[in-house]
């Protein structure tokens, strides 16, 4: 990992904190309270590498994407793309550049493609808009090339189709083709395979993998499936309740999890090789927890087997337990 730290990251998030004002329970006039959706989240993304973010629903995975896509501005901290502050561009031109280079793949391919346009139109438009291609022949060739890269063959026949004529997997491939046509270097993939059929999930994942290796794209792969995270990514972040609880090399984290929450996640993940039903490493029920700026202690304490008094009082700091591997727990 030592040489990795000396490389320059292509996309960086530094100490992101995201607060939302939410309505208090108890009627219209109960006032608002602050919910901290993300707390001190930092990561770097490198060329040709994928970073997985895993965690349960409501842990802030998608909020992270939304911040990167400029839907929200973070309360504290900043995100930078090639040194430019994502939420505060100097020029309008930088923003255009950012939109070209940072793209997102959505969970639901059934609603992310415009149903009124053919695949040909969907793929050729970014070529015209971002790359200034004008000759019809040139565009046609490029579209065919992209169609073949993403596995929509025969290209000439498939590109005439409209989204409703394609299956779920083909739609997702078409969308990936669009991201490819735009020429994005950093791709935020928010559960790109969870709406697809099991038999074609891996095919789509292999396509992303190919883009990663051959075209040196950088991915943020959001998922709740820790097994595919290991298959596709180099590094992993385990997010719990808006906090990064464990992060580092994916193999080390999955094979030898240290944080009790990572251990719980891995014990819960299905594994066909397991002979008997697994023992869940958890105390109490899984209730969705909410974190506010005044919350104290470790967010995982109410569910943790190892929790002691200190965990309810003292917020754990991240501890480095190996090269580039960190754990946020009071009991390290």
């Amino acid at each position: 990992m030592s040489d990795k730290t000396s490389r320059t990251p292509i996309f960086e998030a530094k100490n992101i904190v995201m607060d939302f004002k939410v309505q208090k329970s108890g009627g219209m006039f109960a006032g608002t309270t602050t919910l901290r959706a993300l707390n001190d989240v930092s990561f770097e993304m490198y060329e040709g590498e994928s970073l997985a973010v895993v965690g349960e629903s409501g842990c802030g995975k998608s909020t992270l994407c939304r911040i990167a896509m400029r839907v929200h501005s973070p309360t504290e901290g900043k995100m930078t793309y090639n040194g430019m502050d994502v939420h505060n561009f100097d020029h309008k031109k930088d923003y255009t550049k950012y939109r070209e280079k940072v793209q997102m793949i959505f969970q639901d391919p059934f609603s992310s493609l415009n149903p009124l346009h053919s695949i040909d139109y969907i793929l050729s438009r970014p070529l015209k808009l971002y790359h200034g291609m004008k000759k019809k022949k040139e565009i046609d060739e490029k579209v065919n090339e992209i169609m073949e890269t993403v596995g929509l063959i025969p290209a000439v026949e498939q590109k005439r189709k409209y989204p409703h004529q394609l299956s779920g997997g083909q739609k997702q491939r078409a969308f990936i083709g669009k991201v490819f046509a735009i020429g994005a270097d950093v791709i935020f993939a928010d559960e790109p395979t969870s709406m697809l059929d099991v038999s074609i999930r891996l095919g789509v994942l292999n396509l992303l993998n190919k883009m990663k290796f051959e075209n040196k794209k950088s991915f943020l792969y959001i998922t709740h499936d820790i097994a595919t995270a290991r298959y596709f990514s180099e590094r992993i972040i385990v997010l719990y309740c808006g906090h990064m609880v464990e992060w580092g090399d994916v193999n080390k984290v999955v094979i030898d999890p240290i944080h009790p929450y990572t251990q719980l996640l891995i014990s819960a993940a299905p594994d066909p090789e397991r002979e008997t039903l697994a023992e869940l490493k958890e105390k109490g029920r899984a209730e969705i927890q909410q974190w506010s700026p005044d919350s104290k202690g470790c967010p995982f304490a109410p569910r943790c087997l190892k929790a002691t008094d200190i965990c309810y009082k003292h917020f754990p700091e991240a501890v480095e337990v190996g090269e580039g591997r960190f754990v946020r727990c009071n009991h390290i």
């Binding site: 059929d197 891996l202 595919t228 290991r230 209730e287």
Partner: protein
Amino acid sequence: MDPLLEVNNLSVDYITMTGSVRAVDDVSFTINPEEILGLAGESGCGKSTIAYSLMRLHRPPALISEGQINLGGTDVLRLNTEELRKFRWEEMSMVFQSAMNCLNPVVRLDKQFFEIFKYHGITNNKKEAFERSAELMKIVDIAPERLRDYPHQFSGGMRQRAIIAMALALKPKLLILDEPTTALDTVVQREILQKIYELKQKFKFSILFITHDLSLMMEFCDTVAVMYAGKIVEMAPSKQILNSPRHPYTYGLKNSFPSLKGDVKYMEGIAGSPVSLSMLPKGCRFQDRCFNVTGECRRYEPQAGENKHNFVCCHNRLKEGKV
């Protein structure tokens, strides 16, 4: 041992404007007492259609056109409306996909329980029904006081557990779980499956477990049946499916789930996309996606053997799980 459920040559058609589509084609299988049978396959392959036929929940345009369903001596397809009403829930109950949304949002939970007891002639006394429901809520680890709450006051996992408690209210012999945990988080999913397993040990019912997650199924089920385009292509004990799948589709499906242990290997998944039921090719249905296809596959449809509990439909079956 006599099987609890016997399904023979079941076929289900959907009648459409452009002709009928056979969603389940000539399917036979059995479930033994206290067995967990897993039904795997991708969306649209007919898993849920089978489950709906077992409960006879189909409405037009779906039509059970052929076959027999026999549960512990009852011929399910011959029951009249009144018998059917009694049969459902007393003999066989079902937890639906996204069951969380099956609860009536404007009726408190205790009343929803009361209705089960009332209409199945168990008790007409609200107090007694409440006590029985409290008992059921306890076995799924929900505090009985919560019976007075409305469904929206529960979390997704709790609602799912409450539905399971309802499904077990009349001690059915067979419980059908149609993707019971798909919408839930991994940890909650695991909790629920563990609970179901414990309850099964306690009350000794059989389970038909439908999911597309093959790795979860291997862990949870005794026997696994794999469906493709309306047919069961392979059925065998889960150990056998795991270690030596015989059908190329089972092999491909198994290779679509990366493992948590060992080295990260390149995995292929299955090429192509699912076949459309209205445009089935001649011969084997899997031919266009199969890596082992021969001329025979394009001419004749492979047939299952006599054994209804362990069979494979393939001309070129794999030996010892190797390609």
